[in-house]
Amino acid sequence: MDKNYAKLGEFTTLELMAVCGARAIKNGEVVFVGTGLPMIAAMLAKRTHAPNAKIVYEAGFIDSNAIDIALSIADSRLGYRASAAIGLIETLGLLLQGGHVDVGFVGAAQIDEYGNINTTYIGDFENPTVRLPGSGGGNDIVSSAKRIVIIMTHEKRKMVKKLDYLTSPGFLDGPKAREKAGLLGGGPSLVVTNLCQMDFDPETKRIRLATIHPGVTLQQILDNIGFDLIVPENVPTTEPPTYEELVILRAIDPHGIYIPRQG
């Protein structure tokens, strides 16, 4: 079947980001998500190419089939037609650390070129400018899931040479560092931003440009990043959302709680 792609201007950046997130999920995978865009992405994947994906929320909801948008990771909405409602030791301990989680989605206030993540402090540890929410289950997920998708906005102050605080481990200081530290999971595999998608160079474990969103220039990406980005010779344009994906996506979040309507 030919794919019927939406044209530039027919979708919002957040819609494209949700679609990118959804496409990172394979059918049948066990997916660990939080609220916000990752939840929308996982719901979209289940309604399109990955109906057998199993969505786990750390509060204890397992194989959730929520039909309403949840505001909290412990939201009762996530219990609708779930296969189980247990607790944190079940989800973060037995399922995740036990090696059953294929892909975990996390956000980040800052990342560095090895995909290390800060969600705890902005500014000095003793005298912070902003005290952020902290790890929650973020460090657990990034430590132990087989691969990690990071969804965040593309800004110079967020993509930094040195983190103010290292909350969750990317590739730490380079190749073999995760193994040396004793970490179980595979580390970050994809970063989805409002400008592009980035992956990680298998040799150096440094962040690398993968696709550029439609309508975005390479210069825009480079102007909004605080570290040296690996730019391969030929970088494709991000596959736009299909009309089918957009229709389903808009039905998932009809009131625009996480993806506000355009205009």
Partner: protein
Amino acid sequence: MVEAPIEDKRITLKEAAKLIPDGAHLFWGGFGFQRPPMAFAHELVRQKKRNLTVYTCGSEIDIDILSGAYVVSRFELAFFAIEGIGLAPNIQRRIREGAIQIEDYTNLAMALRFLGGALGVPFMPLKSMLGTDLIAKTKFRPKKAEVITCPFTGEKVVLVPSVRPDFSIVHVSRVDREGNAQIDGIKGEDVEGARAGKKVIVLAEEIVDTEFIRSQPDQTAIPNIYVNYVVECPWGAYPMMVYNYYDYDMEHVRMYYQQCKTEEGWQKYCEEYITGVEDHMEFLKKIGMERLLKLRAKKPFPY
């Protein structure tokens, strides 16, 4: 045959809060928007408790209120915010003032620390936190976590200290007079946390007959052996949610968030909804029965 008398552990919310001395260490139950002991937080504020240390995985308005009113001076936790809305406003201010300190762990680390306390072992091993500032940086604990080489396999493992707080405070779906508690929906870290405390106070949406519990013992999350006190506390998590009982009141949550961005706004909220009302029932009357009933869970949905 001798019939065992049913032990009655019921006390009032006021009596329960009176049990907590200044400086006590508490396990704080509920997770995110689900079953926070909100009414208990209000009562601690009314009774002007001070200098408490609170252990929890992730909490929201409940611990923001405890911070705003200077009830808590130290937290050991993994997460605080008002999810889907923003940062916890009072906690931000109290950190800036130096009135509260936070020792950071992960959700799994905290849950395991409670399990360790409940098991009576001094620490628990896990595979999170490795290679990060969660191990490298500490606020007030002389020793926060330790990386060791496993004596059996040679792999690296993190040890985190178990927690045995003075009291565990949990808000559950239903309980009988003896303290057999059932929790609908997710349990968060409450199963382990309730077993970690030296004394356990169970607050519940409703008190049910012991025979009801004993007709479905597989549904019991916390057996009476662990429980010292039982408090009947309907709508005790409002404005947050209780699975199968009621939804959150987002209008109130948003109002709280907006108003508490300033110290004056918080003081006004505290006076209007907490210190200015006699007790939990007066608080509920102030919110209004009509408003509460609209939040009742509507089958087949648990919200």
